[in-house]
């Protein structure tokens, strides 16, 4: 019998049985959450079930982030319902201005070894904490909130073993885009995408988060990573070192497949429309020098303080190109306040940026940066489907904050290695 993967270890603890890939388990849920696009349906389902309660109120969170502040009366009225439901059940409310659910959950609530169920597909980002974190629909999350448990099929694990050192101008976003380009948008369907190797061990937490965040873009059920000294450092920085515990796969864990990458061989990548696996290097003639009307630095994928800092390193002393708009949406209040205090807002505003409040903004196409017909957007977000950013007649290209900055300066897709 081989050893256990990270997911098998976490789900064994959470279900009280030793489980293996393929087993069906009922797992205790350590953190459950909804956002304002999925929460109203979740709560209506709880009412239909006759379960207007939270099994663990302090570990149940209602995030208002997708339409925050709301652009329309219907959305504002959804928010009223969410706030009332949270008050009635004792759930924690993370209201307008606090930021994107996955980012705030990561800063405040997700712990190594947790089972995290969120009514949003990018819940997988919690994997970077050494948690089992997965997105589900409203009704599944209704059960997770009300009963504190969920049923799961224990996933097989694809292991991504990353060696080498990232070159200047190359980031974890480029690695995950490269991987999705190879295995495609259904290459990890039903599976865990576990990350390991020296390049992961030496990677700062905020970069690891990108890898777990985009597991869903390959169809992955989760994107678990070891909980190590860097995890501990991150938790300490966020005033909750006590939440730390070590999580590692067994050395002889049974993987469905092990895929190896050398970070030093990577280059900046761009995902072209209409989906995340349509990936080419930034130097490819199909994207190089392509006119960009809007650069969007936002989302749970790449809008932390560290992303804004990287963007500003490139932007320093430069201006956004004429004919290009730059929209910056810090992922959370923490990212917003720190960027502001450390002078990054001054730099961005002088360069010509528009800075929006923390939240999901234009990433899911609700408001604050929806592109016009025929426009091209270079975005640090996670999806570029037809209509994703709110207009099926616009085109979204996905890339790292560094590529976004180089592109903002030139008004066309630009290799960040060519800047400075």
């Amino acid at each position: 019998m081989p050893g256990q993967t990270i997911v098998e270890k976490i789900l064994s603890r959470a279900s009280g049985h030793t489980v293996r890939a393929g087993d069906i388990a009922i797992a205790k849920v350590d953190l459950a959450y909804v956002q304002d696009g999925t929460g109203p349906l979740t709560f209506r389902q709880m009412e239909k079930m006759g379960l207007v309660k939270a099994a663990n109120p302090s570990r149940s969170v209602v995030f208002i982030d997708h339409a925050a502040p709301p652009a329309r009366k219907e959305l504002a009225t959804d928010h009223v319902y969410l706030r009332e439901f949270a008050a009635k059940t004792g759930m924690v409310l993370s209201d307008v201005g606090e930021g994107v659910c996955h980012q705030v959950a990561f800063e405040k609530y997700v712990r190594p070894g947790d089972v995290v169920i969120g009514a949003d597909s990018h819940t997988v980002m919690g994997g970077a904490m050494g948690a089992f974190a997965t997105g589900m629909g409203s009704t599944d999350v209704a059960v997770a909130l009300a009963l504190g448990k969920t049923w799961l099929r224990v996933p097989e694990t694809l292991k991504f073993e990353i060696a080498g050192k990232f070159a200047k101008g190359v980031y974890s976003k480029d690695l995950i885009l490269k991987v999705i380009g190879e295995i495609k948008t259904d290459g990890a369907t039903y599976k865990a995408m576990e990350w390991g190797g020296p390049a992961i061990a030496s990677m700062p937490m905020t970069e690891r988060m990108v890898l777990s965040n985009m597991a869903i873009e390959a169809g992955g059920k989760c994107g678990p990573q070891p909980s190590d000294v860097e995890t501990r450092r991150y938790l300490k920085e966020h005033g909750r070192e006590d939440d730390w515990k070590e999580i590692r796969p067994d050395p002889d864990a049974g993987y469905e497949e092990v895929r190896e990458h050398d970070a030093s061989e990577l280059e900046p990548m761009v995902a072209r429309p209409p989906q995340e696996d349509n990936v080419v290097p930034v130097t490819d003639p199909s994207v190089k020098d392509l006119k960009i009307h809007q650069v969007y630095l936002g989302s749970c994928t790449n809008a932390r303080y560290e992303d804004i800092q990287v963007f500003c390193d490139y932007m320093k002393g430069e201006k956004v190109a004429k004919g290009t708009r730059l929209i910056v949406v810090p992922a959370s209040k923490e990212a917003y306040v720190r960027s502001m205090r450390e002078g990054l807002f001054d730099l961005l505003l002088e360069a010509g940026a528009t800075i929006n409040p923390p939240g999901c903004g234009a990433c899911p196409g609700v408001h604050m940066g929806v592109p016009g017909d025929g426009e091209n957007v270079l975005s640090t977000t996670n999806r570029n489907y037809v209509g994703r950013m709110g207009n099926p007649a616009a085109f979204t290209y996905l890339a790292s904050p560094a590529t976004a900055a180089a592109t903002a300066i030139h008004g066309a897709i630009t290799d960040p290695r060519e800047v400075k």
């Binding site: 069906i24 009922i26 696009g37 999925t38 109203p40 349906l41 389902q45 239909k48 079930m49 006759g50 379960l51 997708h66 339409a67 652009a71 329309r72 219907e74 959305l75 009225t77 959804d78 319902y81 969120g118 009514a119 949003d120 597909s121 819940t123 997105g135 589900m136 629909g137 409203s138 009704t139 599944d140 209704a142 059960v143 009963l147 448990k149 969920t150 049923w151 099929r153 948008t185 259904d186 369907t189 039903y190 869903i216 169809g219 059920k221 989906q275 899911p364 196409g365 609700v366 929806v370 999806r383 489907y385 037809v386 209509g387 994703r388 950013m389 709110g390 207009n391 099926p392």
Partner: protein
């Protein structure tokens, strides 16, 4: 019996329930008027009760929005047939009592007359005179679907029990 509405591979939840209609999520009949609008604009107005949505690979990829399968069902769809489904979407279909069937859809064409027998695991394409078989759902999901969805399941059992799963 119902008609096949054929879709390509990789139909995303953004194509099914576009983000620009986010404000209609608490008004599902209104949202359903836009179902699959960006994939086939004529679908919502012309789909008839009992029709089938027929996809290719990776149907329902993307977000967790349960509104996507809910409005496909609200439009009257009998079942979704596809070569493969994205994980969250698949689970959502079963949870709302909408059959999502993994079957080789290559031989089904637009407009074909289809019939489904969920118990026996057979899709009959009456236009072509062929029968396509599909495997049974995992026991857990079969039970949830049989009982009409996860809300009904929880109302019936008061808990997540899944004995015999």
């Amino acid at each position: 019996m119902g008609r096949a509405w054929k879709f390509a591979d990789n139909v995303s939840t953004d194509l099914i329930a576009p983000g620009r209609y986010y404000h209609l999520r608490s008004n599902l009949p209104e949202l359903a008027k836009h179902v699959l609008e960006d994939a086939r604009p004529e679908f919502a107005a012309n789909v008839k009760p009992g029709d089938f949505v027929v996809g290719g690979r990776n149907f329902g990829k993307g977000s967790s929005r349960e509104h996507a399968p809910v409005i496909i069902r609200l439009a009257g769809t009998r079942a979704i047939l596809a070569k493969s489904f994205a994980r969250i979407f698949y689970r959502n279909c079963i949870n709302i009592g909408l059959p999502a069937v993994v079957v080789d859809t290559d031989r089904i064409d637009e407009g074909d007359d289809l019939e489904i027998d969920l118990e026996k695991g057979i899709v009959s394409d009456r236009t072509k005179g062929i029968r396509l078989t599909f495997p049974a759902l995992p026991a857990v999901m079969a039970r949830i679907l049989e009982e009409g969805g996860l809300v009904e399941y929880i109302r019936n059992h008061g808990d997540l029990v899944l004995s015999g799963a």
